[in-house]
Amino acid sequence: MDINELIGKLQGEFEDIPPGTLKPESKISDIEGWGSMHALIVIALADTDYGVTIKGDELRKVQSVQELYDLIIEKQKNPSE
């Protein structure tokens, strides 16, 4: 996968966030309307589509969409972590 695929999937799930809002450098905390439901969707999407388990506290440390992508890739390489 590449980051655009991830952005496409997130954009598809976040129906309340206008298309084109998400970019690799987007700060997650700055996304308008971002809330706990979005966090849950990210965690669920990482599990169903990428086979990785992200914990809530791990997700909170993620600053940008790029960092989220990096985290998923890292976890795919090292499933035990």
Partner: protein
């Protein structure tokens, strides 16, 4: 006057006793004079609970209640009991459109099915003494939903319905079934819930509790009441423990 608020000469079987509410109930029941049988999945943490029990004659079994063979082995080993507390449980937040069979099986398996199947075998094998009291846990979230909570709250709603039916089928021997409905209690599960990002602003959430977030001891006291002779006329009910959460603030 002799107080009926004690558990002397009673044997109480408590699931999910390795941490949180179940652990505190086990400790509190032992302090109130009960012989306690604890079960849990984590051997180390279960033995920590066991070491904190007061008095003699307690039993501890590591088990996996969602595994039919292991569950049945455990139940068949038990002596006859006067009380059953199902505090084994799991919180697994999943948005509704992402729910897959594995999530459903996990949450319903431990929160609902293991309770139902344990009780069935306890009754079938005549392990429950006359006047036995059964205690289950629901959650205030059944009526106060949160994002991602559909599976958890559905499993708890199922337990509420189940308990009332159970109460109807076991009353002949003065056996009773009741549900405790706690709001937020400060347990490892609560910390996990916060870590899973369910409450973005924890302080704001906690401020909704006039009497603050509950302690495991608060729940254990309610369980002792429901297990003791003090509640011998109480069955098929739900006991809400919420620190004033639902009166609004």
């Amino acid at each position: 006057m002799t107080t009926p608020f004690h558990l002397t000469n009673k044997t109480i079987f408590i699931t999910g006793a390795s941490s949180g509410i179940g652990k505190q109930i086990a400790i509190s029941c032992s302090e109130m004079g009960a012989k306690v049988i604890i079960s849990g999945r984590d051997e180390k943490r279960l033995s920590e609970t066991f070491s904190q029990l007061k008095g003699e004659g307690h039993l501890s079994y590591v088990s996996e209640l969602t595994d039919e063979t292991k569950r049945n082995e455990l139940i068949d080993k038990l002596p006859s009991i006067d009380g059953f507390v199902h505090s084994a449980g799991i919180v697994l937040p999943v948005p509704v459109k992402f729910i897959a069979e594995k999530h459903l099986r996990t949450v319903m398996g431990i929160n609902f099915e293991s309770a139902v199947l344990t009780v069935a075998r306890l009754l079938k094998n005549k392990k429950l003494n006359e006047k036995a009291s059964l205690v289950f846990f629901s959650s205030v979230s059944v009526n106060h939903p949160y994002s991602g909570g559909s599976l958890y709250t559905a499993s708890k709603g199922a337990i509420e319905a189940y308990s009332k039916n159970l109460a109807l089928e076991i009353y002949q021997k003065r056996m009773r079934s009741n549900v405790i409905i706690p709001a937020m209690i400060r347990t490892p599960l609560y910390e996990e819930t916060i870590n899973q990002g369910m409450y973005r602003n924890v302080e704001e959430y906690e401020s909704k509790y006039p009497l603050g977030i509950g302690r495991p001891e608060d729940v254990a006291n309610a369980a002792i009441y429901l297990l003791s002779e003090a509640s011998s006329w109480v069955t098929g009910t739900n006991l809400l423990l919420d620190g004033g959460f639902t009166i609004g603030k």
